[in-house]
Subunit: 114 residues, 2 copies
DNA sequence: CGTTTATATAAACTCAGGCTTATCCTTCGG
DNA sequence: CCGAAGGATAAGCCTGAGTTTATATAAACG
């Protein structure tokens, strides 16, 4: 329940995050998103369905078109989950590692201790 | 760079989130995680590498074992990204849709406009 | 009604990424 | 030194999920 599994999976898809970002200003029709994002229409529809099932968007019918807009709830849940990781006891640890962490290259290989 | 793409992708993996949750209390060796989570040792190592590359964890050598612990930065970034979605102009919209949204069934189908 | 527009759905293909198995490297214990 | 423990890495397999292409549904329009 407080499990954001679905949410992370849904937002892991780049095009879905793009859709979400394009919905932030307000509701959009499928066709609008298609031309704005350059994704195929079936692609947009499928992504919207996934977003809808996960509760990220609502739909509203307007004639033959469907207007999608964002919901807030899943974002709240996500933020709640993440918030629990803000109080980690790191500190100077980060400082130290920033001096050593060179990403991918560990030349010195300094093993010490014990 | 304030782009949480990588972060979402990394946390989309269920076992990686489990690892993260098991690291929350404090640092753990690879072997500890293996027995706690029931994931194969190569699996844990690979997930940890991915988490490391994405900045979620740091490593510390202790003899022949490696102690992993959480970093806070990526969580901060994530929270920042999500936070921008908290001010959506929804309101009674949610109320309404909760009455209608029956998942898959759209009975009324009221078309209007243009 | 017939056609066009807007969207959804289905089927087939493709590929990234996770899992398994096997092997290597390093460190510790005698 | 030698063997074993702790991890990392590589190779190959396999499934999930996204894309494409084609078609179905539904509403607007004449």
């Amino acid at each position: 329940m407080p499990n954001p599994s679905r949410a992370f999976q849904v937002l892991a898809e780049p095009n879905r995050r793009r859709i979400v970002e394009h919905l932030r200003p307000g509701e959009r029709s499928v066709g609008t998103l298609v031309s704005e994002l350059g994704i195929s229409q079936p692609g947009v529809s499928r992504h919207l369905r996934i977003l809808h099932r996960a509760g990220f968007v609502r739909v509203r019918a307007d004639g033959q078109r469907r207007l999608y807009s964002l919901r807030r709830e899943p974002f709240r849940d996500l933020e709640a989950w993440i918030h629990d990781y803000q109080d980690l006891v790191e500190a100077r640890l980060d400082r130290l590692e920033e001096l050593v962490t060179s990403e991918g290259a560990e030349p010195p290989k300094q093993g010490r201790r014990r």
